[in-house]
Subunit: 166 residues, 2 copies
């Protein structure tokens, strides 16, 4: 196993050891490049998503947005999420539904990565590695599938909580 991996907790994003760090290219620039009409609301929401150290669900995003624009509406949040998802600028996660049926969002990163969610303490870790990249290539090659989005989610127990698990 000579593969190099990046493991990061939510608060350590980008400050990882071994390999290429996981980074999040500017959503704003990407939207501009594509000539997407920008409103005050979109700028606000996109900014929050871009800067958030945590993965946000729609309700939390709305909450945070309201702190700066109390008038902003749920519908706008959902419509903006839909816009970003359609354009492939954000990824959607369930984080193993560790807390309700929400969906979580994060700005698309420079490299695909999986998420590990600890059932006990709720910690979320990201995992990127060359093995993951190879698996994707293998899938594409062997099945002739043209991959657009990949979601890898792992549920279990983190190192610290792992005493109890298998």
């Amino acid at each position: 196993m000579q593969s190099v991996a990046v493991v990061a907790t939510e608060s350590q994003l980008g400050r990882s050891e071994n390999a290429t760090a996981i980074t999040r290219p500017s959503l704003m620039k990407e939207l501009a490049r594509r000539g997407v009409r920008m409103t005050a609301q979109r700028r606000l929401l996109v900014g929050i998503i871009q800067d958030s150290p945590r993965h946000l669900d729609a309700a939390t995003l709305l909450e945070l947005a309201k702190q700066r624009d109390p008038g902003i509406d749920r519908a706008t949040v959902y419509r903006t999420i839909a816009l970003l998802k359609e354009r492939g600028l954000i990824d959607e996660l369930d984080l193993m539904h560790i807390e309700g049926e929400k969906h979580y969002y994060e700005a698309k990163t420079n490299r695909d990565h999986g998420h590990m969610a600890c059932f006990r303490c709720g910690a979320i870790m990201e995992y990127a590695s060359s093995s993951f990249e190879r698996l994707k290539q293998e899938i594409a090659k062997q099945s002739g599938f043209h991959i657009r989005v990949v979601r890898l989610e792992v549920g279990g127990f983190c190192k610290r909580c792992g005493k109890a698990a298998s």
Copy 2:
């Protein structure tokens, strides 16, 4: 890339070529072994899940169950799904939300596998391979995470529909 993979469409489950086929051990036996109280409703629902060639969502499962027991209730379906999920006897999938926000369920298989969902024709394919197994081991080893469940979902375009995609 010397890895051997199993690729199967929904209707071909288990009839795959290269490697160890994907099989679904008996849920009923597993429940008996664990001393789970069995009711007529549970037997019915578990039987349907076990035998279904497709991945079922709660509404469809209810629909199918009603054909044999018109009195069966939604709540029972959800409670049974919760039971099976808690015990780790079924896996939950989103299939890239290719059709609404439903969750889909399938009896736990002998080997973990990912799902590819075609955005155009809606085909669902399963993918198991030794690379996938290796990736899991690598994740566990490098991060000290104790894996309980893994979900790999891929969205894109299948071979036939792939003309349009990247």
